[in-house]
């Protein structure tokens, strides 16, 4: 089973990201579960969402305590205790920021996970450029899929099209493509070039 934990703020599409990932995995014929941390909904409040992917039916429903991948859509959360919990088996952390990794004030994160596993990505900038709104979720998701090799780009595109229509779908796909190639061209600072899945419960 592969477990992803998404962090961000209300309004950034964190929950949608988790759902999209689950839809993409489903399209690949796998079992997938996605759900948000539930709370009063408010723009700007910290939000977490979870996605599990497996080839067997998924029966547990607890929040993801030990994620294989951590996707941080808002860099202001990198010192948040909830975000820093359970990172022992985490293989990759994506952080949405324009800062260089040594500029990012995230000492605990760097210590717990290791610099080599942190990938920096200016997702908001790409979102503003290609989507016109600060919704970095699909960009982050795309980069994650490229790094992990979990979902093919075509599948991701199909998943995006199943959720969005018209211009929104097109602009998101364009942004996803840019993020994908940033990874492929190794133009993202640090991070592993590929993350393999483990059979971890």
């Amino acid at each position: 089973m592969y477990q992803v934990r998404f962090h961000g703020r209300g309004g950034q599409g964190v929950v949608t990201a988790a759902e999209l990932l689950s839809v993409a995995a489903f399209m690949d014929g796998r079992h997938a579960q996605a759900f948000p941390s539930f709370g009063s909904e408010r723009m700007g409040a910290p939000v977490a969402a979870f996605c599990r992917i497996s080839d067997k039916p998924i029966r547990i429903r607890e929040p993801v305590a030990a994620p294989d991948a951590l996707i941080v859509q808002d860099a202001s959360l990198v010192r948040n205790p909830d975000l820093l919990a359970g990172l022992d088996v985490t293989k990759v952390v994506l952080v949405n920021t324009t800062l260089a990794i040594h500029e990012l004030r995230a000492e605990q994160l760097k210590t717990r996970v290791g610099l080599g596993k942190i990938v920096i990505l200016p997702a908001t900038e790409i979102a503003m450029e290609l989507i016109g709104r600060n919704v970095p979720n699909v960009i982050m998701l795309s980069a994650f899929c490229a790094i992990s090799g979990l979902i093919a780009f075509d599948t991701l595109t199909k998943a995006i099209e199943s959720k969005f229509k018209g211009k929104i779908a097109q602009s998101n796909i364009a942004a996803a493509e840019k993020a994908w190639w940033l990874v492929q061209d190794q133009r993202l600072p640090a991070g592993p070039s590929r993350v393999t899945e483990t059979t971890h419960a």
Binding site: A18, S22, V23, A34, F35, F38, I60, R61, G86
Partner: protein, 419 residues
């Protein structure tokens, strides 16, 4: 057809295919996505003919359906927690009048203190309202149970409540095999009322019944529940034959045939329990589980049979009955009357506290080793409780305990999962 979608949307699709004629809606987290989806389809004409009533309270929501059902329409609504309580009077009225209304309850804790997250306190509080109460283990089962619910309700002329864990199921995206409209139409015939307000044949429904007949009338209601003990498995069989999968029924066991210890629970926590069972079995422990789908009527015989060879039973409950402990465990003990078995109550998940597989496994192992108290709790913050009790001891005006605990808990370094 296989789909990946949110639980509440899956339920809404199933409901729509059952062709309800009158739907009433009053919003409350976490069921609202269901009625919202239905409103969209009514407006677009996808669900037609259907009258969609946006009402002013849950009491009105169920009352409207009582009227609609008495007129001969197929009816549906959804609620949770406070809403279920707000319609309490109407719940008893609907079952007392024998109206086959179907309702989803998105299980949610009852306040105070106010809490929007999942546990079973709401439907537990209404366990004697006369409604059939069915619990779904997964979103697939939630979908399937609603289709069965209409058939069941209309056949025995009793209202049916399908309990779906709030947030945990309602708001989770997972795979569901969605039946087709044709399949549902073949499974669920048009509604034929037992009683109907008809000018051509006027009747009076709902008169006062005095001591001379009330006992008999109540027994007849109870008798419908007893009938349901046969109808529920039969409908589940029919469902399996038509749709090709298990859903509903009275109880379902998992690796329990040779089990020394059997774990019993309602709803989605059974998934976590089954994962724990697998781990424990791998370690050589003869342990299994039983998921109860039909909580009301409570299948005494089926439970007795399923548990008869176990030495001990661990009942996992998402409801704490103040001053007593476990309701499900009490009901289980009734089923095991006369048998020498230990039945322990384990309470977890109250107010949406995450139920971690690791904690469940530890607890089940303890139980299997007869190390559990009669009543125990999973992942309870005992230090915070001790602190509050100390505070209450030292001063009379100790302040609101809920607010203190919130303060304490957020201060604490708790080995708690991300919420």
């Amino acid at each position: 057809m296989l789909k990946q979608l949110e639980g509440s949307h899956a339920v809404a699709e199933a409901i729509a295919m059952c062709r309800p004629q009158v739907i009433s809606c009053y919003p409350i987290t976490p069921q609202t996505h269901i009625v919202e989806a239905l409103s969209g389809w009514v407006k677009s004409g996808r669900l037609s003919p259907c009258e969609y009533l946006t009402v002013e309270s849950e009491f009105a929501a169920l009352s409207a359906l009582i009227g609609a059902s008495a007129m001969g329409a197929r009816t549906y609504t959804a609620t949770s927690s406070q809403g279920l309580l707000y319609m309490a009077e109407a719940l008893w009225n609907a079952s007392g009048l024998g109206l086959p209304i179907v309702m989803t309850d998105g299980n949610r804790a009852i306040g105070g203190p106010i809490n929007i997250w999942n546990d079973h306190s709401d439907t537990m509080a209404m366990r004697d309202c006369g409604w059939i109460q069915l619990h779904a283990e997964s979103n697939q089962e939630a979908t399937d149970l609603h289709i069965q619910a209409f058939k069941l309700a209309e056949e025995i002329s009793m209202p049916v409540m399908v309990c779906v864990d709030g947030f945990i199921l309602t708001h989770a995206y997972e795979r569901v095999d969605m039946p087709s409209q044709k399949e549902v139409d073949e499974f669920l015939p048009a509604y034929e009322p037992r009683q109907i307000l008809d000018p051509a044949d006027p009747i009076s429904i709902g008169a006062m019944v005095g001591p001379e007949a009330y006992m008999e009338v109540r027994y007849l209601l109870h008798n419908r529940h007893l009938q349901a003990l046969d109808v529920i498995p039969r409908i589940s069989d029919e469902f399996r034959n038509k749709f090709g999968r298990e859903a509903g029924g009275l109880v379902r066991t998992y690796r329990a045939e040779d089990a020394e210890t059997i774990v019993v629970a309602l709803g989605s926590v059974n998934g976590t329990i089954q994962d724990s069972i697998d781990d424990l079995r791998d370690a050589g422990h003869p342990i299994g589980s039983m998921s109860i789908c039909s909580f009301r009527p409570f299948p005494l015989k089926a439970i007795r049979t399923a548990l008869q060879n176990a030495k001990r039973v661990i009942v996992i409950e998402k409801n704490l009955a103040p001053g007593l402990g476990g309701i499900l465990a009490s009901n289980i003990r009734m089923a095991l009357r006369g048998m020498t078995k230990t039945v322990s109550t384990v309470i977890c998940g109250l107010g949406g506290r995450a139920i971690m597989k690791k904690s469940v496994t530890e607890c089940l192992l303890k139980g299997h080793r007869d190390q559990l108290e009669d009543l125990s709790f999973i992942d309870m913050n005992w230090p915070a409780i001790e602190r509050e009790l100390e505070r209450e001891k030292t001063t009379r005006r100790s302040g609101p305990m809920a607010e203190h605990l919130m303060f304490d808990v957020t201060k604490d370094v708790m080995p708690e999962p991300v919420s």
